[in-house]
Structures are given as structure tokens and as C-alpha cells.
């Protein structure tokens, strides 16, 4: 959900995305968490990847949210809102 949100505003590459996500202290996302998720999201076609060729060094990969990813993100957002709503109701009942 975090990755899909990070890609919602347009195409970006892995290192830039990792830099942004590593600033979110509460999530404590590291590369061994995020990079496998890239692979899974590409596998499930929620994001697409393209490589920009270079004359020297490894190519850089750019990721983009697909239509399927947008639908998935919308479903996740709805579910997230329901979770927050349920927790708020629980807190109100207890307190």
C-alpha cells in the first residue's frame, strides 16, 4: 500500500523511492523489504517497470502504477478507512 501510494503521482526509480520511504520513521522500511515488494508488484502487474539503457553501468529501472494497481490502491484505501473507523468506534466505546 505504501509503495502504491508512493507511485501514485507518477513514474519514479528505485533509489529515489527508497530515499523517500526511508524518511518515514514509523514504517522503518529497508531495502530488503522494499525491493522484494517491487518484484511482487511487478509480478502481480500492479506496477510496471522499464529500464533506461546506459552506455556504462547498470540500467536504471523506472516504476509506474498500472490501471490494476490504481484499482488495488483504491480498494486498499477503502479498507484502510474501514479499519480506522472500526478502531475509532472501539476506542469510543471503551473510553
Amino acid at each position: 500500500m505504501v509503495l502504491l501510494h508512493a507511485l501514485r503521482h507518477g513514474e519514479t526509480y528505485g533509489y529515489e523511492l527508497l530515499q523517500r520511504l526511508s524518511k518515514l520513521e514509523c514504517l522503518s522500511l529497508r531495502e530488503s523489504t522494499i525491493y522484494p515488494l517491487f518484484g511482487r508488484l511487478v509480478e502481480s502487474e500492479h506496477i510496471s517497470v522499464r529500464s533506461a539503457p546506459s552506455n556504462s553501468g547498470p540500467p536504471r529501472r523506472y516504476y509506474r502504477l498500472t490501471k490494476l494497481g490504481e484499482l488495488r490502491l483504491r480498494a486498499m484505501d477503502e479498507y484502510w478507512r474501514e479499519v480506522i473507523k472500526s478502531i475509532d468506534q472501539l476506542k469510543e466505546n471503551i473510553l
Binding site: 515488494l37 518484484g39 529500464s51 480498494a75 479498507y79
Partner: protein, 186 residues
């Protein structure tokens, strides 16, 4: 030219990077991770970017520092952690423990089967109860009898009188037992 991913480092550093990536690739293949080339490529870029942040001409010591700050190759084999992360982002409709909807005909078949079994069990229980009651009741209500005579009835020898257990004395006012009429012999 300023992009560190578009340039090569010294042979020693390049060898160290290749070794590290080979370790990660081996772990990813061993655990069947999806699209290992994406992961390896991203780690490659991350190492190069961090090396370039340390020095324009990084040496093997700089590589050691960079790799020490990064996740080790074994971290990419932490499938339970990856599964937890994945389940955390999945709404219930597509989570791993999704409950499949059972077809209607299977539900009806199971329901009919359960009903038939229940009826059969009730019938069997009722039969056993009736059998047990009749068995024990007949033993209690039919006391043993004593036959006073086993000789065939004649004019002088009346038919045997069946006296229930506990009724040894026949009251005098009781009428005599009815004897079957005996046809005189011609």
C-alpha cells in the same frame, strides 16, 4: 557523467559489488523470489549511489563501510517477514487466508446427507430404546409360573392350575378354575 550508476569503479570495488550481488542472487533463487533481476539491479544501484556519496574514487574500504550499513544478503531470504508485509497491505478480500465460496449444489448435498444421517440415527436410537424397554419390562412383569401337574387332564384329574409366583394360597371363596368340557368317549 555525474550519475554514479553510469560509471565503473576500480576493479577491486567492482569485484566486491559483483560478489555481494552474487550472494543476493543466490539467496533469491534459493527462495524462489519473483523477479530477482529487479532486486539485484536495485541493490546494485543503491551500492553505487552510496559509494559515490562517500568518495569520487571509492576503494574497497569504502565498499566495506557501505555494505556494512546495508541489509546482508541473508535478509532477502526472510520470507516470513515478506509475507507479513504483504498480508499487511492486503484487504481481506484477497488475503492469503481467503475463504472460498462453496457451490450451492455441494451445500444442498451436504445438507441432505446430514438430514438423512440424523433421521437414521434417531430411528436407530428409538428402535434400541423400544427393544430394551420391552426386554426388561417383560422379564419384570411376567413372574415365573409353577405348573402343578403335567398329567393330561381327565375326569378325575383336572387340568393344571397355573399359580403365579407369590400366590401360593388360593382363596377358598375363589371360584374353581374353569375346566374345559370333556367329550365322553363313545
Amino acid at each position: 557523467v555525474n550519475d554514479p550508476t553510469r560509471r565503473t569503479f576500480s576493479p577491486a570495488v567492482e569485484g566486491g559489488i559483483a560478489l555481494h550481488l552474487a550472494d543476493i542472487r543466490r539467496v533469491l533463487h534459493a527462495h524462489g523470489m519473483a523477479h530477482p533481476e529487479i532486486i539485484v539491479g536495485e541493490v546494485d544501484e543503491l551500492v553505487r549511489m552510496r559509494l559515490a556519496a562517500i568518495s569520487d574514487q571509492p576503494d574497497i574500504d569504502a565498499l566495506r563501510v557501505v555494505l556494512a550499513e546495508m541489509d546482508p544478503p541473508s535478509a532477502y531470504a526472510d520470507r516470513p517477514m515478506a509475507a507479513r508485509t504483504e498480508s499487511r497491505i492486503q484487504p481481506p478480500s484477497q488475503s492469503a487466508g481467503q475463504k472460498e465460496k462453496r457451490p450451492l449444489w455441494i451445500s444442498i448435498t451436504i445438507g441432505v446427507g446430514v438430514a438423512v444421517l440424523a433421521l437414521w440415527a434417531i430411528n436407530l436410537t428409538f428402535t434400541l430404546v423400544v427393544f430394551a424397554l420391552s426386554h426388561f419390562t417383560s422379564e419384570e412383569e411376567a413372574p415365573p409360573v409353577r405348573i402343578t401337574s403335567i398329567n393330561p387332564p381327565t375326569k378325575t384329574n383336572p387340568p393344571p392350575v397355573i399359580i403365579p409366583e407369590g400366590a401360593d394360597k388360593v382363596r377358598e371363596e375363589d371360584p374353581p378354575p374353569v375346566r374345559s368340557p370333556v367329550q365322553p368317549a363313545k
